[in-house]
């Protein structure tokens, strides 16, 4: 039986196959931008310039880039605390993201949200949510609005394997299915919840896909480290959603190269696991893909250089940026811009 994965991996005829050169170059650039910005965030953390917590997507770039490149303007992303990648993938500047991680006034939310809550509505990034599962029902609501108003946008909700064991996941899937909402649920199965292997705490081998049937949805498991596979899967789910055929649930297999958060040395990994997954590093896979399709090393090197330049420039700008001023402490608690709870 042909699985969704087989279909998604069906070979194209060349660089200008179903994906095409421009899209492939964009997808490479997007993944590399995430890789370089996340690596920089880690370096800045070691220098004590990134404060608080942070959850990196090193190794998981292909999911973010593949989905974002398949989105149209107006489509909405709902992310988790591990959301830098998805925010960058929607073309928010590295400076805004690093600025927020460094808790500077030039940050995306001027330091009021922090690493776990990146939001840029003008780019369709409708928030990053740090309470496990909370944003799945919220994405349903945004999709309900689209359905009600006849808008054609799709709400895309990213979350981890661990999230499939909280009630909100199940409530949201049932809700989206019965209302046939234009929402796409994307489980990034990186094999671990926080520190515990997902298999130790889940009744089925595939935490998302094996539950899809309970909600009348197709069982979809894909290689989340191959951006082309991700992109094609996303396109199919989006057209379903736009055609009024309802939600999709996609389980993308991937792996995080760093610990769960900055505090985690990831000592719980079995020996050799990280090395095995690094063989399937999404950036490496994609660089080879471009080369297979005849993209010259020069073109690749130009992209590499310009991405590094963006990250370097952003770093310097953020280091020089002022800290947030005290007068924003009490702004935007309420819609009138203030915080007054009494007269």
């Amino acid at each position: 039986m042909a699985t969704a994965q087989d279909r998604a991996q069906a070979p194209g005829s060349g660089l200008n196959d179903d994906i095409g050169e421009a899209k492939r170059l964009a997808m490479y650039r997007s993944q590399l931008r995430i890789r370089e910005a996340e690596q920089r965030a880690y370096d800045l953390f070691l220098q004590n310039l990134v404060k608080g917590t942070s959850h990196l997507s090193l190794g998981q770039e292909a999911v973010a880039s593949g989905f974002a490149e398949a989105m149209q303007k107006g489509d909405l992303s709902f992310c988790t605390y591990r959301g830098h990648a998805h925010t960058l993938a929607r073309c928010v500047s590295v400076e805004k993201v690093l600025g927020e991680l460094m808790q500077r006034d030039n940050g995306l939310m001027r330091g009021k949200g922090g690493s776990m809550h990146l939001t840029s509505e003008e780019h369709g990034v409708m928030g990053s949510y740090a309470i496990i599962g909370a944003h799945l029902p919220i994405a349903c609501g945004a999709a309900w609005r689209a359905q009600y108003k006849g808008d054609k946008d799709v709400s895309v909700c990213f979350f981890g394997d661990g999230t499939t064991n909280i009630g909100a996941f199940h409530e949201a899937l049932n809700f989206a299915a019965i209302w046939k909402l234009p929402v796409v649920f994307v489980c990034e199965n990186n094999l671990y919840m926080e520190y515990t292997p997902i298999g130790d705490v889940t009744a089925v081998p595939h935490p998302a896909a094996d539950r899809a049937g309970s909600y009348g949805l197709e069982r979809i498991i894909i290689d989340g480290n191959d951006a082309d596979v991700v992109y094609r899967t996303a396109q199919r789910a989006f057209s379903r959603a736009r055609a009024g055929e309802g939600p999709s649930l996609i389980e993308a297999l991937t792996y995080r190269h760093s610990g769960h958060s900055r505090a985690d040395p990831a000592k719980y990994r079995p020996e050799g696991e990280l090395e095995k997954w690094k063989q399937r590093d999404p950036i490496k896979i994609y660089r080879e893909r471009l080369q297979q399709f005849g993209v010259s090393d020069k073109v690749i090197a130009e992209i590499d250089a310009s991405v590094r330049q963006e990250v370097d420039d952003a770093t310097e700008t953020c280091k020089a940026a002022p800290m947030p001023p005290a007068d924003i402490l009490t702004t935007d608690v309420y819609a009138d811009g203030g915080w007054a709870w009494r007269n």
């Binding site: 349903c140 909100a168 935007d332 309420y334 009494r342």
Partner: protein
């Protein structure tokens, strides 16, 4: 003026706002075809149709989460949580999501929604279907919290809540659904953050909310008739924003303060108001402020037991009389 029930006022308030604005949508458990377990939404489904009035599964998180996602992206949802006690199973949205998204996003995210819920005791439903949870909501920065006591206030404050750009928790008292009050014809729109002097008086200020308002009024009438004590009764109506001006002005006039709270003792709204009065009007007071509350216990189910613990007109009369005559 025509009289209608508090229950019919809920229906009329929702209908008034849905008729006025197509972005207002309504969702909850058993609210559409069945008209609600308290019959407070009867006829809305027939009037506004299945796209705007929607039955949901028993999924409180999905109800509130969906309301939020819809509100963030352009609708003005009214979500019903059948019993306010169930806030505990979807409290993430009430405590973490609705009220904080605007602040955390530095003003980008909006959340114009209303959560309606059946609150309070009197139905003999026991400890998990009778609570007064206004304090659970009042303590969270970013929310607005309203609890009307009369049919006209239900319509006016519900309209104000729907039109308000912030998330509003709208607490309907289950024991008031059958009560009646005068309601003028035509559109009614009130203002959040305004208390109402429901009975003017000179000798003491009694603050009350929801079901405690009619009890405070009854007590005030008896205090006047039986003891010559003339109390001013204020329906607080809106806990956030809180109309401290009306309260402080009344205390400046009467020099005595009583709160009548259905909630269990600790951290009741009255404690907050008493602290404000102590801070800002201490020298206006001729005696210690007194809080009349339900004792700090889970609510019992038996009628005879429940009646012993909720503040009654009798207890208010006795407490005020003893305080003023001592």
């Amino acid at each position: 003026m025509p009289e209608i029930t508090y229950r019919d006022a809920v229906i009329r308030g929702i209908a008034q706002e849905m008729a006025r604005d197509n972005d207002v949508v309504f969702l909850g458990e058993d609210v559409a075809k069945a008209g609600g377990v308290f019959k407070a939404t009867v006829g809305l489904y027939e009037q506004f149709g299945p796209l705007r009035v929607r039955d949901t599964p028993i999924s409180e998180q999905a109800i509130l989460g969906a309301a939020m996602g819809a509100a963030m992206t352009g609708l003005k949802p009214i979500a019903e949580i059948m019993f306010s006690d169930f806030f505990a199973v979807c409290f993430d949205y009430i405590a973490n999501e609705f009220p904080k998204s605007r602040y955390m996003s530095n003003g980008q995210t909006k959340c114009p929604l209303v959560v309606r819920t059946g609150n309070g005791a009197g139905s003999r439903f026991g400890a998990q279907h009778s609570q007064s949870v206004e304090n659970w909501c009042m303590m969270i920065p970013g929310l607005k919290v309203v609890a009307p006591s009369s049919p006209v206030d239900v319509i006016g404050l519900l309209a104000a809540a729907v039109r308000d750009p912030d998330p509003v928790i709208f607490l309907e008292h289950k024991s008031l659904y059958a009560t009646k009050g005068e309601v003028p014809d035509g559109e009614i729109v009130d203002r959040l953050g305004t208390a109402k002097i429901v009975r003017p008086g000179r000798d003491a200020t009694i603050l009350a909310l929801a079901l405690m308002v009619p009890r405070a009024v009854e007590a005030a009438e008896r205090l006047k008739a039986e003891h010559g004590i003339d109390c001013e009764v204020i329906d607080v109506r809106s806990l956030v924003p809180l109309d401290t001006q009306t309260i402080l002005a009344s205390v400046a006039k009467t020099h005595r303060l009583f709160t009548v709270e259905e909630n269990p003792r600790l951290c009741g709204w009255g404690a907050e108001i008493v602290s404000i009065v102590a801070d800002e009007a201490f020298y206006d007071l001729d005696g210690p402020p007194v809080r009349i509350t339900t004792p700090h216990i889970p609510l019992p189910a038996a009628d005879i037991l429940e009646d012993m613990v909720l503040p009654t007109a009798e207890r208010i009369v006795e407490t005020v009389r003893r305080s003023l005559q001592s």
